[in-house]
Point group: C2
Chain length 320, copies 2
């Protein structure tokens, strides 16, 4: 029996494809040496059914497709240079809806002080958007997934679990615009790329590694651990809970903070001697620290293993 | 009745979306000023059903998805820096087939002295590949679609109609690997980006405008005319006919050279005083010249209008 992609899962497949390409560094963006600095580049393919909740408006679909790419630029400490947006569009879609998608793209790009500079359109059965974002960063300021050292502080911008709670509202409670929970729904549907924060942290010289937490805290930590050949301890009581999560039972709210994706906050490590410089760069929360190995959740001094589950494309789910 | 994309067609839709984005220059690549030079960037979304003939092997699908992007880099006179490849993959696809696609991508990139430096994979019903190519070019050497002046020579690299003839073999005669016509089929399925030629022409200082002819000669000339606010005369007897086209009736062979896409040759204009410099840069054929306006086909001194038909996505076809 030939092996199918569903049996291997996205992460397994990526490993094999990466080998074919002769190795691709596993950062949020690819790095190119150009002139004195680096060009950073990232690409992300999104589909109507799999990547956007049914309740997302065309404008929000456009916004999200740009935001997820700019979040990767932010995670390198880079300044955005521009985006290319390719769209596979169902031929029977209303022109006005397509225009709304592009207005959402344009607004997100401009809100981040950048622009859409090119793209491609063609016909496709399911709406498919592929964004590519480019940025620039100084060689001695770039932040990568590797770089953390045992003893460094583990930190995050913003709050956690808001987008995950929004997704629950949309999927399980069939939330509609105008109903209570608007803030959580917008945390999911209108993510804010942390470009200012990423750039300020890079310039501060205090951060040692960084990535965004798009697939959830646990899975992102697992990536950060693999890239840096380190481990992490997360202090449960330090996790910054997104506003609105107090409506969830305690256990579920913790699960949302640890395992749900879509927050697009920056997860980074700090040299503890440079905490003051980092505090001047942007607001953030220290949620743990770097250790030699393992992913741990610490609750009032007791450690347990932090499972590395989160969002993964392509993996067939048991029972589905 | 709301307007549907199929009524507007790809080119009409692009015009409207471009306005929303505040204007995007209509070159083969977007241009970014970085340091002393330009970064060029292009993106192209391809789908299994619409963009690849059924007979294309997984390896050829990978090759094509990289080649079409590198052809756009070539058309700017740029050196490739790297590619990002995003893939939406049916979960039940065999891993070995996906690996073959990525081997094809890797081979094309390496054949062009560049590499795949990043990407994205996710699950999607129909195989969808989105490539982004980056390149670099000096500001005083970049070649754009605008720049041609009346009196300039119109030229093309390589030969015309080969890929179109290959497509006819595949679609209408159900060509299979091993049957006669292999060369034409490969012209279609394994296009060769003209990077060396594009670069040499840019460095020669002789070319005044350039683009690739991916949508066919006539449609590409129409783009070149619009960008440069000029017209063109194409001399019928000067058109370089692809090897193998002699098997087609004269009229059909002319149609293939004028209206079929997929050759990925470079179409460019030359300052006639610099013809010698251009001849040293690379082999090419002069096929006509730039005039003030109109697109004309000249046959032994008699001119007729050249229709601007060719490949367009999304447009609903009469009767279909």
């Amino acid at each position: 029996m030939p092996l199918r992609c569903s049996e291997l899962g996205e992460r397994g497949l990526i490993k094999r494809l990466t080998e074919i390409l002769g190795g691709v560094e596993n950062d949020d963006c690819a790095l190119l040496e150009v002139g004195e600095g680096y060009i950073v580049a990232t690409t992300d393919m999104l589909h109507r059914q799999t990547d956007f909740p049914a309740q997302a408006s065309p404008w929000q679909i456009g916004w999200m497709s740009v935001a997820v790419n700019l979040s990767d630029v932010a995670a390198m400490g880079a300044l955005p240079l521009g985006l290319l947006m390719a769209a596979g569009i169902p031929t029977e879609m209303e022109v006005e809806q397509v225009e709304e998608i592009f207005r959402g793209m344009d607004c997100c790009a401009r809100a981040c002080n950048t622009r859409i500079i090119g793209g491609d359109t063609d016909a496709h059965q399911e709406l498919t958007l592929n964004g590519t974002a480019l940025g620039t960063v100084e060689r001695d300021r770039v932040l990568r997934r590797r770089g953390a050292r045992p003893g460094d502080l583990l930190c995050t911008t913003g709050a956690l679990g808001g987008a995950g709670a929004g997704l629950e509202l949309l999927l399980e409670r069939d939330w509609r615009p105008g109903q209570p929970g608007e803030d959580l729904a917008r945390r999911l549907l209108e993510p804010q790329p942390r470009l200012k924060e990423g750039r300020a942290l890079a310039l501060s010289g205090a951060a040692t590694a960084m990535m965004d937490n798009s697939d959830g805290l646990a899975l992102s930590l697992s990536d950060l651990a693999e890239a840096g050949k380190t481990g992490f301890v997360v202090r449960q009581e330090s996790l910054p809970r997104a506003a609105g999560l107090e409506a969830w039972p305690e256990e579920e709210s913790l699960d949302l903070m640890l395992f749900s994706g879509g927050d697009f906050e920056l997860l980074f490590t700090l040299c503890p001697e440079k905490l003051a410089e980092a505090r001047q760069a942007c607001p953030f929360t220290a949620i743990g620290y770097v250790v030699e190995e393992g992913l741990w959740l610490e609750d009032r001094g007791a450690r347990r293993l932090l499972p590395t589950r989160g969002f993964e494309h392509m993996r067939s789910r048991p029972g589905s």
